[in-house]
Amino acid sequence: MAKVVIPDHLLTLTGGEREVEVAAKNFRELLIALEARWPDSTVVLGKCAAAIDGQIYQDAFLEGLNPDSEVFFMQRIEGG
């Protein structure tokens, strides 16, 4: 089960749940599972960057997940 962590400022999407465990083979399946758990959450989460096992993805979608993967949603980084 991949561990998913929601940033504090988006806890309104999840009814205050900060961490959940999700069975998913890739990021796409993870988003589907989160949508089922928290309807409409992926509209916002889909616009976030995601750090999967320490690697930050600005546009994650097809990335694979391991049973012990850690996924952190975070604000997309812009730069100058």
């Binding site: 930050i56 949603f73 604000q75």
Partner: protein
């Protein structure tokens, strides 16, 4: 990832291929495009910082001989809310209303109308003939006052985002963001020493030398070609299509050379106006901002008000920290409070922290990205607090940072665990640096501070063409701001096994190469470089196949070594190695021209850390701060072109020192910027600065074939606190507000 090997061309510093044209004046910048029948556009800007627009009458201007077109907000499509997309994000409707005001003007200098005429002088005269009726409103100029419950609202439909419960009243606070971990109260209870600080930094501009400029030409079929100075012509094309509701296929954007951007040229201002004026006039339209317009109407970075509190044990171990970070967004939401919040504690191991950040509307220009957007302001607060903490603890400030330094496996405040990073290597280098070990000059003070930036990857494309004689043409889509053509040439040469001189890199327009995100986010050498390397690997695979066909062996019996196809070890083939030139010369017989391609969304950008050291002297009679010596130490991952990496480090340090010492937007009570020119908005010049010494640390990024991390943004983060801490050391005074201009320093000295 590539092992630490001795590269043949990577790590050398050849002359940039575009250098001769730039120093001889041949290079074409934004305002250099001239076309037959071209006319000139100018913008009418609001004299009020906050007002309703009651009416705009263009008729008198349009009646003037030699005036060919005029537009106002009514000529634009209805602004639709939606994601801009691309690197900077934001809302399309806000972008459109920033380009041309509709019902309200939200800052002094906000565009209200535009005209195109036979000459610049005539266009300026026509602006005076435009009749605009305003209903002035009170300007909201103070960051703290803007957040008050009873503050005048910039946008009656702005409801604070991300609150636990949806607010029932609008506010100038567009959004809040929180990050937290652990038990802050317990952490502070565990501390032996606690320091607190409150810091204000005013709005500051990137100060790029080249003003915004573009030329647009719309043909009778409605297809527009735009020449402009931009950090990203593909994203400009996308933004223009959304703002003007045009088919993206009808827009062609060609990036000129660029005289500095630093984030400020990721935003669209003039281009949609020039397109509209060209549509109406049926002539090419050139528009060039004056320096005053650049200051008044393009995005500077946020002014901020930050509070920080840090606790530590006697041995220096940090136990808890809190931060409250308020960022000015300017006229529309979108201050870089998120990166500011995520970066403030990033260099350190912290089990207990709480960060709150706010995005606040004020009647000032809409902010834009500026090198590591948001980080210099927040990290200035933390790095000053750490300096105070070191004093309280009697510790060396580098030792305090080393005691708490993040390393591989440390969980960053924004979530993930760091992969291999170079912060400790930077601290060790700083501690041993001759600048740090030599005595502090008499009467001077020494400061140190750390910097951090995430860096990003994003989308890039590249093609590699092998010419008939084996020379190489790389085509990619990122405007060259800091020497990226040279870096691409070096990576292509290294991968293919040819010399630097055999490779040339071109920047394609939006119709001649694949999509690339902006040159920004410290991404170009990392992401576009990755695309170039992959395109070269495509070429190598093709060359091996053609060599195999030529020799009558299997493809897996061919290897690529030093720019040649050679038989693999053990392969019994009595053949001569085939160089790139040999294979290119025979290309017609083996399948036609050699073209390698790659497009990708680069992942795995490596975070970059820096440590800077400065010695300053303060004139107690005038308050003037002189920087005696300055050293910037930064982890580049791998420096592809060391001289340009040093250039980024020196340039970022110079901008950061300027921000610390002099740069600030000064507004009067009506919201009019009073120093909209380089005489009064004082960026540092060569005589203001010592030679900035550099030391490049190389802890390779495991996600890049040559170990690259971005280097363009981290250099501006540390200098603010470095200067503040050095002034603290020189004077014994913690001056909390920047810049340290002579009047502010003198006032602090007088009040001490």
């Amino acid at each position: 990832m590539a092992e630490a090997v001795d590269y043949k061309v990577i790590g050398t510093s050849p002359v940039r291929p575009d250098g001769v044209d730039k120093v001889t004046g041949r290079a074409q910048y934004g305002a250099d495009m001239n076309l037959p029948n071209m006319i000139y556009g100018k913008v009418l800007r609001s004299p009020h910082a906050h007002a309703r627009i009651k009416s705009v009458d263009l008729s008198k201007a349009l009646a003037m001989p030699g005036v060919y077109a005029a537009v106002s907000g009514a000529d634009f499509p209805q602004a639709q809310h939606g994601e801009i997309g691309g690197e900077g994000g934001g809302d399309v409707a806000d972008l459109a209303k920033n380009i041309m005001a509709r019902d309200k003007v939200l800052y002094h200098g906000h565009a209200v109308a535009a005209v195109a005429a036979r000459s610049v002088q005539l266009a300026e005269a026509a602006l005076e003939a435009i009749d605009v009726s305003y209903e002035p409103l009170p300007p909201v100029l103070d960051l703290d006052a803007a957040m008050a419950v009873d503050a005048t609202l910039l946008d009656e439909n702005c409801f604070t985002k991300n609150l636990p419960e949806k607010p029932d009243k609008p506010s100038n606070i567009a959004a809040v963001m929180q990050l937290a971990r652990g038990d802050v109260e317990a952490g502070f209870a565990d501390a032996d020493v606690i320091v607190e600080g409150e810091y204000r930094i005013p709005m500051a501009h990137q100060g790029y030398i080249e003003p915004h400029a573009c030329t647009a030409s719309v043909n009778e079929g409605g297809q527009a070609t735009v020449w402009c100075c931009t950090q990203g012509h593909f994203e400009f094309r996308a933004m223009a299509s959304k703002v003007l509701n045009m088919n993206i296929a009808d827009l062609k954007f060609i990036a000129s050379e660029i005289g500095g951007g630093f984030g400020g040229k990721t935003v669209l201002y003039l281009e949609p106006l020039a397109i509209l004026l060209s549509q109406k006039s049926h002539r090419p339209v050139k528009m060039t901002m004056t320096r005053e317009e650049v200051f008044r109407a393009t995005g500077p970075t946020s002014g901020t008000h930050c509070k920080v509190k840090v606790g530590a044990k006697k041995d220096g171990t940090l136990t808890a920290a809190t931060a409250w970070l308020a960022y000015e967004a300017g006229a529309f939401a979108g201050a870089p409070m998120g990166p500011g919040a995520m970066s403030i504690f990033a260099p350190y191991r912290l089990d207990n922290f709480h960060i709150e950040a706010l995005d606040v509307l004020v009647n000032k220009p809409k902010v834009a990205a500026y090198r590591a957007p948001g980080a210099p302001q927040s990290m200035h607060a933390m790095e000053c607090a750490l300096d105070d903490l070191a004093r309280e603890l009697g510790m060396d400030p580098i030792d305090l940072r080393m005691k708490n330094a993040a390393e591989e496996g440390t969980q960053a405040p924004y979530g993930p665990k760091f992969p291999a990073i170079g912060f400790k290597a930077c601290l060790e280098a700083a501690k041993q640096h001759p600048h740090y070990t030599r005595p502090i000059p008499e009467g001077a003070g020494r400061g140190v501070a750390a910097g951090f930036w995430f860096n990003v990857g994003m989308q890039s494309s590249a093609e590699v063409h092998i010419n008939e004689n084996g020379t190489v043409t790389v085509v990619e889509g990122n405007p060259d701001i800091g020497g990226s053509r040279a870096s691409m040439c070096l990576m292509a040469a290294e991968t293919l096994g040819v010399t630097y001189e055999q490779v040339r890199t071109l920047i394609g327009d939006t119709e001649s190469t694949g999509f690339s995100n902006v040159t920004g986010g410290s991404r170009t050498t990392f992401a576009t470089g990755m695309a170039v390397v992959q395109a070269c690997e495509d070429i190598i695979a093709q060359c091996k196949a053609r060599a195999a066909a030529t020799w009558g062996v299997d493809e897996d019996q061919v290897e690529w070594e030093d720019g040649q196809a050679v038989p693999a070890p053990g392969v019994n083939a009595d053949v001569k190695p085939l160089s790139l030139a040999d294979i290119a010369a025979n290309a017609a017989r083996t399948g036609g021209p050699l073209l390698g391609r790659a497009s990708l969304n680069a992942q795995g950008a490596g975070a970059s850390f820096a440590v800077n050291i400065a010695d300053v002297k303060v004139d107690r009679d005038t308050g003037k701060v002189d920087v005696l010596s300055y050293t910037a130490i930064q982890d580049a991952g791998k420096a592809i072109h060391p001289a340009y990496v040093e250039g980024q480090m020196q340039g970022g340090a110079a901008q950061g020192i300027g921000w610390a010492l002099n740069e600030e937007y000064i507004f009067n009570t009506d919201g009019v910027m009073e120093n909209a020119g380089f005489l009064d908005y004082r960026i540092p010049v060569a005589s203001d600065l010592p030679m900035i010494d550099t030391q490049i640390i190389e802890v390779p990024n495991p996600s890049h074939p040559y170990g690259v991390r971005g280097v363009g943004e981290t250099p501006i983060v540390a200098p603010l606190a470095v200067i503040a801490n050095a002034v603290r050391a020189a004077t014994g005074l913690r001056i909390n507000d920047l810049p340290f201009s002579p009047p502010r320093v003198l006032e602090a000295l007088d009040n001490a």
